[in-house]
């Protein structure tokens, strides 16, 4: 009965969709594989928002504990609510603001990816980013509950966001490469069904033959060893070296998304809520991100 219940719940299905993204099963690894880029945009977005809200709660633990000590309960609850709304806003607004330019750069540089695959790709990489973020949430919540030092918590948050961001980008570049290769091959196949003359198509043919020879080895004797030969979601495949279009698109995307994201994070402050300041949903605009991180580092020893 419980298994039926689990099967019926759409949220659980969406969680499984995110799990497939993390395992690298949503993006076709072999370009000759005639499989769609299967990501339910709505479902994955819902899970992404849920993960962002959860991480926001972990951020709010610091103000909750501090509020309980000083009996400022309403301030603590307001700050927690603010954190829970701001983390999804940070990622959602950044994606909305940058998506048009990300798509246009991608088209200008010469990738043949259409709008929907590009959007799916970005949502999938946000899902990876947030899954790492939320998995580090318990560590943040524990340190928030046991640390009175505001600067330490700020630095820990910066480190966690950085780790999650790097892993999200590692996923993005591999997924982009696999998808770009699959699309290019698909188009080449339509144009020249008989002879693969282009270098990309011929390497793909070679990789298909290589895949067939590896398949000839009976897998069932070493199921674990055979499984590990498949590169994971964030690993490059020796069959598919990064092509130069992918490198250029990726560099542009990092620049645009990173700059807008950092500034968005700065505009949406405070995420944690300094215990010395009164509650405010937004702070007046001042200074910049990097200066603040350096200051927090020095204040930790003060």
């Amino acid at each position: 009965m419980t298994s039926k219940l689990i099967q019926r719940s759409p949220f659980v299905n969406w969680l499984f969709a995110v799990d497939r993204i993390l395992r690298g099963e949503s993006i076709p690894l072999d370009p000759h594989e005639q499989r769609d880029f299967q990501i339910p945009i709505f479902g994955v977005s819902v899970v992404v928002i849920a993960m962002a809200v959860t991480y926001g709660f972990c951020m709010g633990v610091f103000s909750l504990i501090h509020g309980a000590e000083t009996s400022e309960y309403s301030r603590a609850l307001m700050q927690t609510f603010a954190s829970m709304t701001k983390v999804p806003l940070l990622y959602g607004l950044t994606l909305m603001i940058t998506f048009p330019s990300l798509y246009v750069f991608n088209a200008l540089i010469g990738s043949r990816l259409k709008v929907t695959p590009v959007f799916k790709l970005l949502i999938a990489s946000l899902a990876v980013n947030l899954a790492v973020l939320v998995s580090l949430g318990p560590i943040l919540a524990f340190f928030s509950a046991s640390t009175p030092n505001y600067s330490f918590i700020v630095l820990l948050n910066v480190a966690i966001f950085a780790i999650a961001g790097v892993l999200g980008l590692m996923f993005l570049v591999q997924a982009l490469n696999r998808l770009a290769n699959a699309t290019a091959r698909h188009l080449n196949q339509n144009e020249q069904p008989e002879r693969p003359d282009t270098p990309l198509a011929s390497t793909l043919l070679a990789s298909r033959q290589a895949a067939q020879t590896t398949n000839a080895v009976p897998d069932h004797q070493h199921p674990i060893a055979a499984a590990t030969l498949v590169p994971s979601a964030i690993q490059s495949s020796p069959k598919l070296p990064l092509n130069r279009y992918v490198k250029k698109v990726f560099a542009c995307w990092i620049l645009v998304f990173g700059l807008v994201g950092a500034q968005m994070g700065w505009v949406l402050r405070p995420f944690i809520g300094s215990p010395d300041l009164p509650f405010q949903f937004f702070r007046p605009r001042e200074s910049n991100f990097f200066e603040a991180v350096t200051n927090a580092f020095w204040q930790m020893f003060a």
């Binding site: 993390l22 998995s135 009175p148 498949v230």
Partner: protein, 247 residues
């Protein structure tokens, strides 16, 4: 009903398997299922029982030093006994989600059960090593008790005991992981990441859960009276002030 000799044979057989790292190797479990009897549940109960036993021994300091009666000291012994498995298992729970997601991203999800087993076996090894040091702990408590700095020496010895048990458990973890690393070298990176996350959380957890021994001059309580502090901030402040003294 099992006879006493059977129970002791099973117990020492299990301890042997944990300490030799044989039980965590998937190759052995595949070829010869009869040999690998240890399950995750068994490893977790070893952590609970042996941790409780060492913690109880650790917490009897004030009574052994004749500074408090046994009728009062049992509460501290109970607290310390609960705290050792609590330290190990809560740290595991807090560190596990990120380890799971990282394993999935690196494509090691299929062997996650084996990884978890290797980790839990190493922790079972840690508490077994600790428990084997318990007689020395009691001996040291008894022999230092006449000295004026007895409590500091007791704390120092426990730091040495935990430190050496952790180092030994880390070697055990490397041994348990050997088979996994042979299958996929990415596990080598994973085990290093695990040690880092676990140590990062564990040091703060140990700091939060103080007192483990219980100073005879303080009242018996589960947590210290003063509010929680951050271990890393404390350490860096200590280093900072030491540098100020020299400068």
């Amino acid at each position: 009903m099992q006879s006493l000799s059977e129970i002791s044979a099973w117990t020492f057989g299990t301890i042997d398997q944990v300490l030799s790292g044989a039980s965590a190797s998937p190759a052995i479990s595949k070829n010869n299922r009869a040999q690998s009897k240890i399950r995750l549940r068994t490893a977790a109960s070893i952590v609970l029982i042996a941790g409780l036993a060492y913690g109880t021994a650790m917490g009897c300091y004030a009574a052994v030093a004749n500074q408090r009666s046994w009728s009062e000291q049992w509460l501290q012994m109970l607290f310390s006994g609960v705290k050792v498995p609590l330290l190990i298992l809560t740290t595991l729970l807090i560190a596990l989600p990120s380890f799971f997601i990282l394993n999935t991203l690196f494509g090691l999800r299929q062997q996650f059960n084996e990884s978890l087993k290797a980790i839990l076996m190493a922790q079972a090894g840690l508490v077994i090593i600790l428990l084997s040091l318990a007689p020395i702990t009691l001996f040291i408590y008894v022999s230092v008790s006449p000295m004026p700095q007895a409590y500091s020496l007791a704390v120092l010895w426990n730091a040495v005991a935990f430190g050496s048990a952790s180092v030994a458990a880390q070697l055990l973890l490397q041994r348990n992981y050997r088979q996994l690393i042979r299958q996929d070298s990415k596990h080598r990176v994973m085990v290093r990441i695990w040690i880092f996350i676990y140590a990062f959380v564990g040091i703060q957890m140990a700091y939060v859960l103080r007192p483990f021994i219980g100073s005879p001059s303080n009242e018996i309580s589960f947590f210290r009276e003063d509010p929680f502090q951050n271990a890393y901030v404390k350490i860096s402040q200590l280093i900072w002030s030491a540098m100020d003294l020299w400068g």
